[in-house]
């Protein structure tokens, strides 16, 4: 038996109160870990971007299109290995229009050259190449929608109105987490053949693989310079820069998430402080007896702080233990499958878990400082007077 051991065992005194306090600490720690993982995953998305891939879009906006022939011209620039183009199609499943997933019109062969992370069987790849109505579907989307290879899928176009029929030629997986697994890719030609006038032969963006990742800046400048004198000018950037510029639009959201995570853990501290203060008030007589038999004020403070630390430790450990499956298996899996480009890897980082646990302990102890000082400063005779 040690002084600290006695302090820790004191948390068993009021089981219901302790259980509720531990629950508060655990939940606060769990959500701290979740929110911090959101920030980490979002801000680190660029780290998972392919370094050898650049994207070219209309200089004004993503919404405005480029002529398809730009892709052919980009392919001629030295250092460019492969070029693909794509257009945002924006179709929905008429059975459930609230169910969002990406539908992208592209050139199948060049897409798979540029996105080497996209994997499917040679048979399914060939089937997709040969079928103009064929679609390559991410495994997460196929699982969610219950689609299998060979299924006929009818989607309703919003940007390109009408009912569009597709056949699932293949189901893809990815070798990295930066490509999301909930996209339906189909033949750009199938879309283009139905278009007329200014919408015909247009693409949303152009992707290029380059031979030297270190040359992305130079090649991007070359591409933009090439089209600098044209009516439709371009802006080209690395995939990482593209993600970062996208991230910049959400800096306020990230800041809010950051603040909420701190506020949550501070509220936890106040609740623990209240619990400890109640316990101290109820045990004034016991502290009087301990002081009488020779314990010093510092020992009494150690009892109170030790108890708070134990609550922070056990509550924090429960929060961390729940945090891993909650974040990794539940939230993380859903985000990686459906928003892989924004959250390429949504997993609890050991540093974040350790920070959550440390904050739970430190803040619980900090919240107990005032009750501990109050208990330690009790005059022995006054405390004993409350004995009876």
């Amino acid at each position: 038996m040690t002084l600290l051991g006695v302090a820790v065992r004191n948390i068993k005194r009021s089981k219901l109160r302790t259980a509720l306090t531990l629950a508060v600490v655990a939940i606060a720690t769990l959500f701290f870990i979740l929110l911090r993982t959101v920030i980490w995953s979002w801000t680190s998305a660029s780290e998972f971007s392919a370094k050898d891939r650049i994207a070219t879009r209309h200089k004004v906006s993503f919404v405005m299109t480029l002529p398809k022939r730009y892709a052919e011209e980009i392919a001629q620039i030295p250092g460019v290995k492969a070029v693909a183009y794509a257009s945002w199609f924006g179709a929905k499943n008429p059975k459930d229009e609230s169910d969002f997933f990406a539908t992208i019109a592209t050139d199948p062969k060049t897409l798979l050259d540029v996105y080497h992370e996209i994997q499917t069987t040679p048979e399914q790849k060939q089937a997709w190449f040969e079928n103009r109505r064929g679609a390559l579907v991410g495994d997460a989307l196929a699982k969610k929608e219950g689609w299998k290879v060979g299924d006929k899928v009818t989607l309703t176009g919003s940007i390109y109105p009408g009912d569009w029929e597709f056949f699932v030629s293949g189901i893809y997986t990815t070798t990295t987490t930066n490509v999301d697994r909930s996209t339906l890719y189909f033949h750009w030609e199938y879309m283009n053949e139905s278009l007329t006038g200014a919408r015909k032969d247009q693409v949303g963006w152009i992707l290029a693989n380059i031979s030297d990742a270190g040359a992305s800046g130079r090649i991007s400048k070359e591409i933009d310079a090439k089209f600098g004198e044209r009516d439709l000018q371009t802006v080209t950037m690395s995939e990482a820069a593209l993600n970062q510029s996208f991230l910049g639009m959400f800096s306020a959201v990230l800041k809010a998430v950051d603040i909420v995570s701190i506020v949550m853990i501070l509220i936890m501290g106040l609740i623990v402080g209240n619990t400890i203060a109640m316990g101290v008030r109820e045990r004034t007589n016991e502290f009087g007896v301990l002081r009488a038999i020779g314990f010093l004020p510092k020992h009494i403070a150690q009892f109170v702080l030790g108890e708070a630390a134990a609550i922070g430790l056990f509550g924090g450990l429960i929060g961390v233990a729940l945090g891993y499956p909650f974040v990794n298996a539940l939230v993380g899996r859903a985000l990686e499958e459906n928003m892989g480009n924004m959250f390429p890897q949504f997993r609890v980082q050991p540093g974040i878990a350790a920070l959550g646990l440390a904050l739970a302990i430190v803040l619980a102890m900090a919240a107990a400082v005032l009750p501990a000082r109050k208990a330690a400063s009790l005059k022995v005779v006054d405390a004993l007077r409350r004995v009876g």
């Binding site: 038996m1 007896v289 009488a292 038999i293 010093l296």
Partner: protein, 233 residues
């Protein structure tokens, strides 16, 4: 430091000379003890009686080193306590005084033997030695078969015996008991008084007991009566 008087072969373990204790309630002055002179011999069993407000608990607090007099000299176990700091008095209490309270105040999360071991955490003793001493103290009070019981599993009399074991585990010279039988029925009270008597006669502990109970006071060899802060003749 160790100066003491000697009467008939036994020395004074407690000596109060012109001790006064004054409290202030706002601007109101309360003279609880006034110019008190009192000695108690080592190995004696003495009772303090008196009506409520007579100052007996204040006197017990002074003897136990829980408080200091406003004036006068207070020597306990050869140590002058009147000028001693709170920290030094805590060490003095741990070494020399055992406490028995009316309400037992055992820690509910600790077993009987752990409660008894508690004061020894302040001593630099190996864990095994601490546990051995706590078990011995519980044997002395007749609770060797209740060592691993929690306070809630013990009767009032048994809890008070654990308190007494906690009081003697550090082998103090003096045991101060504040209404030790106040919460007990007659049978349990007699057991506790027998135990205190045994500690006095067999272990030579000096016992100072505050009580309202005449039957308890009869067990003491000397009974001091206080009234309005002074010893009644």
């Amino acid at each position: 430091m160790s100066e003491s008087h000697n009467f008939g072969g036994k020395s004074d373990i407690i000596a109060l000379s012109k001790v006064s204790k004054t409290f202030w309630r706002g601007k109101e002055r309360l003279d609880v003890l006034q110019d008190l002179n009192l000695t108690m011999q080592e190995g004696s069993f003495e009772a303090l009686m008196g009506p409520s407000g007579s100052g007996k608990s204040t006197l017990l607090n002074l003897i136990a080193g829980l408080d200091v007099p406003s004036s006068g000299s207070l020597k306990v176990a050869g140590v002058e306590l009147s000028q001693m700091s709170e920290g030094d008095r805590a060490g003095f209490r741990a070494a020399n005084i055992g406490f028995v309270f009316q309400t037992y105040n055992l820690l509910p999360v600790l077993t009987a033997v752990e409660n008894v071991e508690l004061p020894l955490l302040l001593a630099k003793l190996p864990a095994a030695e601490r546990r051995k001493r706590a078990q011995t103290a519980l044997r002395v009070v007749g609770l060797e078969d209740r060592m691993d019981h929690y306070p809630r599993q013990l009767s009032g009399g048994q809890e008070q015996r654990v308190t007494i074991a906690r009081a003697i585990v550090g082998d103090p010279k003096i045991i101060v008991a504040d209404e030790p039988t106040g919460d007990l029925d007659r049978h349990a009270a007699n057991e506790i008084l027998n135990l205190l008597g045994k500690l006095n006669t067999e272990f030579n502990k000096t016992i100072v007991m505050v009580t309202h109970d005449p039957a308890a006071a009869e067990r003491a060899s000397i009974c001091h009566r206080l009234d309005k802060g002074a010893l009644a003749l």
